[in-house]
């Protein structure tokens, strides 16, 4: 840190723009948030320019999309749509999370459970879900149940498989340590295997949550025209492209914020050592 600033020291007097760049760089390296914000700002700027060119008549500017987003919040249509999208999502993720983590841990601990269940989830994870989701309609209609099932079908396999792999790869030296101090099997699972596996289990939950968002939107686009999926379809059909993009942006925003919340919950609760440098 010291050497480059000494070398670069006299330079700003001759080339002021470089000095500005260097000091901005230093600011950014000290505050990573600055990097992320400036990448967002650049992205929105590019979007605005692309919308003004315009690259397609169906492509709104960033500012028009923002206005549409605010107006959809004001007239309440966005919140009504989220009401019907989030319900199956929350139910589906809750079920996938609990069932997936428990099943994954059991499969990691028992060869028997592994043989019974692992092939099913490996196939499910590899299957093209978008093609399978319309099939749900034949069995479960087009209601809440069908949407919840779509979420579970996409979210469960990755949660199960991550949990299973994490437990199977738990640090054998820590397990031996626990045994050497006469830890019971239950203590071994609760105090060593699960905490050791928790980063990978949580990575599975994050992937499962992201897949759950895809599942619910796919279901709304493909089988039951309700919620955010319907909002997107409707605004596209009447050529309200700014509103359509606003709906898309809002779902990206919601899923990103949910994932970030899950991540901070994890570090806080299970892996306190990750909070420090």
């Amino acid at each position: 840190m010291i050497a480059p600033s000494r070398v670069g020291g006299p330079a700003p007097a001759v080339h002021p723009p470089e000095g500005l760049g260097a000091s901005l760089g230093r600011l950014a390296s000290r505050h990573p948030v600055v990097w992320r914000l400036s990448s967002l700002v650049l992205f929105f700027l590019a979007w605005e320019i692309a919308g003004r060119v315009p690259i397609s008549y169906a492509f709104p500017t960033f500012s028009a999309t923002l206005v549409a987003l605010v107006s959809m919040m004001a007239d309440g249509s966005l919140f009504v749509a989220y009401g019907s999208t989030l319900q199956p999502l929350v139910i589906g993720i809750a079920i996938s999370g609990v069932v997936g983590v428990v099943l994954g841990i059991v499969m990691g601990l028992s060869r028997m459970a592994e043989w019974l269940a692992a092939p099913l989830f490996v196939v499910l994870q590899a299957a093209p879900m978008a093609a399978l989701i319309p099939l749900i309609t034949f069995v479960y209609g087009i209601g809440l149940l069908a949407k919840t099932l779509a979420v579970i079908m996409l979210a469960l396999p990755v949660i199960v498989l991550n949990g299973y792999k994490a437990v199977r790869n738990a640090n054998p030296s820590l397990v031996a340590m626990c045994r050497s101090f006469q830890g019971t099997k239950l203590q071994q699972i609760a105090k060593i295997i699960v905490p050791d596996a928790s980063p990978v289990i949580f990575a599975g939950l994050r992937l499962g949550l992201a897949a759950g968002f895809i599942g619910v939107i796919l279901a709304e686009l493909l089988i039951t025209p309700t919620g955010i999926g319907d909002l997107i379809t409707y605004h596209r059909s009447v050529a309200n492209y700014a509103e359509m993009y606003a709906a898309v942006v809002s779902i990206i925003l919601v899923s990103t914020l949910t994932l970030a919340a899950l991540e901070s919950f994890e570090t806080r609760l299970l892996r306190p050592e990750k909070r420090r440098g």
Binding site: S173, L174, R179, S180, F181, Q182, D196, L270, P272, E273
Partner: protein
Amino acid sequence: MAHLAVAEAAIPASETVVAVRGICKRYSEVEALRLIDLDFPRGKLTTLLGPSGCGKTTLLKIIAGLIAASSGEVRVNGKPVTGPGPERAFVFQDFALMPWATVMRNVAFGLELQGMGKAERQSIARNYIAEVGLTGFEDKYPHELSGGMRQRVGLARAFAVNAEVLLLDEPFSAVDEQNRRKFQEDLLRLVDKERKTFIFVTHSIEEAVYVSDRIVLLSRRPGRVSQIIEPRIDRTASPDAIRRDQGYLDTVEEIWQGLKHYVD
């Protein structure tokens, strides 16, 4: 010297804590140990010394009850070993610290598993954290410590459960030379203070001679007992004097002569 003499009198020289009888160990293809017979006397530090891969870790883990022997048996205080027990504590070569737990929780972990209350186990742990020189680091996580400090945590954890027999698997192998000497001196101080039976694994001849009451030389794989040496060294002398002591140097030389033909 007087102090040592009293200790000798208090502990009958012949009393065996750990008895190893006819231990053999095969890993599917590899024969790791062949017919090991050994007695470990109470209150002594016995070292298992031998080339890499000769089965030192395997023998120590069999004594710990962490792995089963293919044949033969281990008795601790006359009782056959069938698994880990409260009278034995293990110090792992790779430390085996929980990365998500503080130094305090790691040191108290053996007591936590026994179901001891938090206040009680923390006060015991605090005592041993001080004993290994880590006071002030109670709330640090393992990744914030150096390799040497991590091994001290592993040592404190083993001391905290107050086992009779401490099993140490190359505890200083991940530590640099300066710290290693310091640790060897600390270990001797703890051996003297805690009056426990130590079984210590190393592949360093100097380390073995410096810390041990008895040295068991193991042959190259399959491991067998090739020689037992009792260094006669006056340990009341200063550490530097010991390292220049003629008895010390002679013993190092004797072991080196015994091991040399394995290297060729």
